[in-house]
Amino acid sequence: MWHTYLLNYRSSMARPFDPRLSRFTSATRQYLIAAVATSSVSAVFIVAQAWLLAYIVNAVFLEDSDFSAVWPQVAWLCGVVIARSILAFGSETLAFRAAAKAKSQLRMAALQHAVALGPSALAQYETGELSQLVTRGIDALDTYFARYLPQLFLACIIPVVVAGAALTQDPLTTLILVLTVPLIPVFMILVGWYTRREVDRQWQSLARLSGYFLDIIAGLPTLKVFRRAKAQAATLAEVSKEYRKDTLRVLRVSFLSAMVLELLASLSVAIVAVSIGVRLVEGNMIFQTALFLLILAPEAYLPLRLVGMHYHAATDAIKAMGVLLDLLDTPLPEYQDVSPDYRSAGYRLADVSLAPGQQTVVEGVSLTIPSGRVSALVGPSGCGKSTIIRSLLGFLSPAAGEVELEWPTGRCAVTEIAPGALLDHVGWLPQNPTIVAGTVRENLHLGNADPAMTNAEALERVSLLPPGGDAEGLLNRMVGDGGVGLSLGEQRRLALARVLLRDPQIVLLDEPGASLDPASEAAVAQAIDWLREQGRTVVVVAHRPQLLEHADTVIDVSRFSMATFDETTVLPGLPS
């Protein structure tokens, strides 16, 4: 929270309303019109209430009216009060309904766009960031619609209406309002600029201190093993103290902007009161007008005050929306209309550089992956094998060079084929395959509308099921989220069976041997042999000699790698 809290100050220069929101959600457009209407009516009611109050007080105070003489005005006042609460009901209901609809529109548009953009574009988000945003994160829009936006409109409309009403009574008060009301946003912006520089300067150190707590908690088991856990508590106390002092130093400056707002607003009311007071004494104004102006003056500043307050709550929404609107603004890639002959297709990489994130991982990769053969990618850990696999799937556009699919009658860059079309024919076993909560059958059928073999066959291919074993029993077995209930080896074999069931022409296996016991490893090797017999193109990333024996070609990736290694590590006793 402290992060976001300070960030709010930092981003307090963010646009109060992002026009893209109304571009992408029709609910917002409709709501904006309604909000202007309710704000205007509400402003009129405020003026009416002030006038009625001033009238009644004046009548009782100075004209010695009997109480019964002002009954009509009291009845009118009751009417205004009731009308204001009905209006409040209407605008609140409207706001929440609009929020619900806008959330839905934004959520679905963002998800559809995310799917259309494909995995490569999504890689720039942190794990969980986007899914959190589109589910719970955009709930912040409730506050945005129901509190902040209406207040924003009230802040624009009410001062104008109030100043207009004052003008009919006393130009001097109007002048005070016209001069001071705009000063509030202007001063806030100026103070904001100044404090922002200050906050920015401390930002790095504050962010680091804030991350420190997460860091030591995440590493607690390690701290304990090395007997540092107790000593670290003292450091934590020290760091927290430092953090508090630094934060307060920033806040002392940041809060100035709020103080300016409060000071200006209440001082202006005081100026109005003093000015009308003096003129009353001099006999240049009547009491009813004076009271009317006095009741109205604070109303002109109140919405601005409240905007500042609700802005705080709205920053979460503004941030969440910002990310989603940026996502929606990302142009969709254009795909070629090609239909490669996947059966006889292989890959060709010519002088390819790959740079996931900012860092170049591999450079100058030139290699061919022949159709219908098993190719193994080897090299020390961290040299870029998985990165190359991602580029073969089209999930990573090369920073330089071309990753092409090549078949006897043509060729085409992988990123030019629509992911959906390409992935119908290219199967992929990732390093950490997804296992969803449900039965083994459900996991197996994930993505297999029209399986190419029976479930039992697929499970046998990866030795999860002995020949003639109880297929039904295994298929109905429940698995927890993230594969709880299955060993790591079994999870990978289940995921491999899922890939086999899709019957892809090209199969990319990323470290299928990792975390596998020898039995599972043998099962994977057997599946690779079967794929070769079927004439499929297979690319396998491997560390272990056992898997490499099943490869037709071995490609050492370390020579393209940007990381430095002790020596090239073509493993002993292998075909090369």
Binding site: D64, V81, A88, L111, F226, V278, S381, L571
Partner: protein, 563 residues
């Protein structure tokens, strides 16, 4: 929403037994109450300044209308200006004091949570295995600040300002004061409660669908690559669309209740003003109120209401803060799963090298559920033992049990000294360990290694890093071993992480060394190099290698297979 639930909910909110989580979390910071109270008083003074500004202004113009000599109004003129300035100044002070209090509590809570976690770590292993749980916990601690700044403080201020305003009006017209009190109580308690109940009901109604949507979305977005590869994206999107329509319909229905709550608030505020003017006018007619004070009685309710206007929003933060407090207390209250002996024996001053004996060893993360049972082995210095077994056979739990990270029973001794009688840190000065998922802290690589032995000098750290084969890599880094590891080791590959973790053991002096999967993530030649360094270090030490790889086991003198 029946009347009985209403009452029950109200009780929940108001009645706070000493066990109430929101109260208990107060204990994390000494002096918090005083600081919060001070902030509350400052905040109340700020709002009372604007009430006083309106009251004085009303008095000023009422008097002015009677056209007395202007000098008699000097006090009122000064008062108006002073109250005009007071609000901004008090508000500024309130925010600084309030945030100082909140930050102190943040520090206190962090420390309490850290100490509790240090006691139970890693027994609730889900926290360490699943990053989101850990993040949530850290977020919970931060969330408690919301409780102080956005809930307690506004309520305290609301209460003080209400009392002050009611007292002021009471002085002039008691009946108007009663109406104001009722109205403020309605706006400050009933309206927030209605909003809270409505939100709670909507949350409960939508929870199952929202949970379903969350997991579908995680599948779609966070596993986008695989789901696209499996051709699942459109199917999942359609399912999310259906859930979304349902949720949106529920939310739109709930909007009505929010509207009713707000309308009632507006009605209460208006009623207070009407009551003030009616009661005031009646009092003037009856000669109980000086006519020139009528405006004061009417304007005070208008200004006072600002203090309760923020309370519905404040109330909405309560359920979330409560859940955070409960999760934190759950950690803080958790018993120590691996208590030290009540009267630990002292660590023998000079331990001569001797055999490391483990017998009848049981490890159970949860009572009655042994992961490993009846394991016995003996390791002599320089005679490494390989512990082999299928994945899931509980190999890693042995390491946790031996270093007292997991509850264990059985006897463990080194050179005749009973290690189970030692206090945990003494035990860990005899047994050094490298767990499978060693953590790299966001500091320099050298500091990460030195963690294992604060006394190790630069020379020794560098030698250890060289021994595990990181020399070339370190030379390619801008600051060598003084380069900082990115957060969560993001800038370091799995293999490099593994080697840094192993370098830690090399700078340590423990006579017993237990390593878990030392060559995971390493290719064959790197694995050999790392094993060379490890075996060299343990030439005169007792080494236990937990592994499922034949190449690791092949280098050990003995092997044992766990079933």
């Amino acid at each position: 929403m029946s009347a009985t639930t209403d009452v029950r909910e109200q009780k929940l909110l108001i009645e706070q037994t000493p066990q109430h989580p929101l109260r208990r979390v107060f204990a994390f910071s000494r002096g918090l109450r005083v600081r919060l109270l001070l902030a509350g008083i400052l905040g109340a003074l700020a709002l009372l300044s604007s009430v006083a500004l309106m009251a004085t202004s009303a008095y000023l113009i009422s008097m002015a209308a009677l056209q007395p000599p202007i000098l008699t109004l000097q006090v009122a003129f000064v008062g108006v200006r002073a109250f005009g300035i007071g609000r901004g100044v008090f508000r500024y002070a309130e925010r600084l004091v309030g945030h100082d209090a909140a930050l102190r509590t943040l520090a206190g809570t962090r420390l309490a949570v850290y100490e509790a976690l240090a006691r139970i770590s890693p027994s609730r292993s889900a926290i360490w295995r699943r990053g989101d749980l850990l993040n949530r916990l850290v977020n919970d601690v931060d969330q408690l600040m919301n409780l102080y700044l956005r809930v307690w403080l506004p309520y305290l201020i609301g209460l003080l300002v209400s009392l002050g305003s009611v007292a002021l009006v009471w002085y002039f017209v008691p009946t108007a004061a009663i109406a104001l009190a009722v109205s403020l109580a309605f706006g400050g308690i009933i309206v927030p409660l209605l909003t809270l109940l409505n939100t709670r009901r909507t949350t409960q109604e939508t929870a199952p669908d929202l949970a379903a949507m969350s997991s579908e979305t995680v599948a779609l977005v966070d596993h986008a690559a695989e789901m696209t590869a499996l051709g699942q994206a459109d199917t999942i999107l359609a399912r999310i669309g259906a859930l979304d329509s349902k949720l949106t319909a529920q939310r739109r229905r709930a909007a009505k209740w929010n509207g009713i709550a707000i309308a009632l608030g507006a009605l209460a505020q208006g009623a207070a003003v009407v009551a003030a003017i009616v009661a005031g006018a009646a009092a003037v007619t009856a000669g109980e109120l000086e006519p020139h004070l009528l405006a004061v009685v009417v304007l005070v309710p208008l200004a006072a209401y600002e203090a309760v206007q923020v309370l519905p929003n404040a109330a909405l933060a309560i359920p979330e803060a409560r859940r955070s407090a409960e999760r934190i207390l759950e950690i803080v209250d958790a018993p120590n799963p691996t208590p030290d002996p009540i009267h630990p024996s002292a660590l023998p001053a000079h331990l001569q090298p001797g055999p490391f004996r483990v017998s009848d060893f049981d490890v159970s993360w949860r009572p009655g559920r042994s992961v490993i049972s009846d394991v016995s082995f003996e390791v002599a210095p320089g005679q490494p033992l390989a512990l082999l077994g299928r994945s899931g056979a509980g190999k890693s739990s042995i390491l946790a049990g031996l270093t007292r990270l997991a509850p264990a029973s059985g006897s463990v001794s080194y050179a005749g000294a009973d290690l189970t009688r030692l206090d945990a840190d003494d035990l860990r000065s005899v047994i050094g360990a490298v767990p499978q998922d060693s953590y790299l802290f966001d500091t320099t690589i050298a500091e990460n290694v030195r963690l294992a032995n604060r006394e190790a000098d630069e020379e020794r750290v560098r030698a250890a890093l060289a021994a595990v084969g990181l020399n070339d890599w370190l030379e390619s880094l801008p600051d060598g071993e003084n380069t900082t590891v990115g957060r969560l080791g993001a800038q370091v590959s799995g293999g490099q992480k593994q080697r840094i973790a192993l370098a830690r053991i090399l700078v340590g002096d423990q006579p017993v060394v237990v390593v878990d999967e030392p060559t995971e993530y390493l290719d064959a030649s790197s694995a050999e190099q790392v094993l060379d360094a490890l075996f060299e270090h343990c030439r005169d030490r007792c080494l236990v290698v937990i592994t499922h790889q034949e190449r690791d086991a092949a280098r050990c003198s003995h092997r044992m297979v766990l079933s």
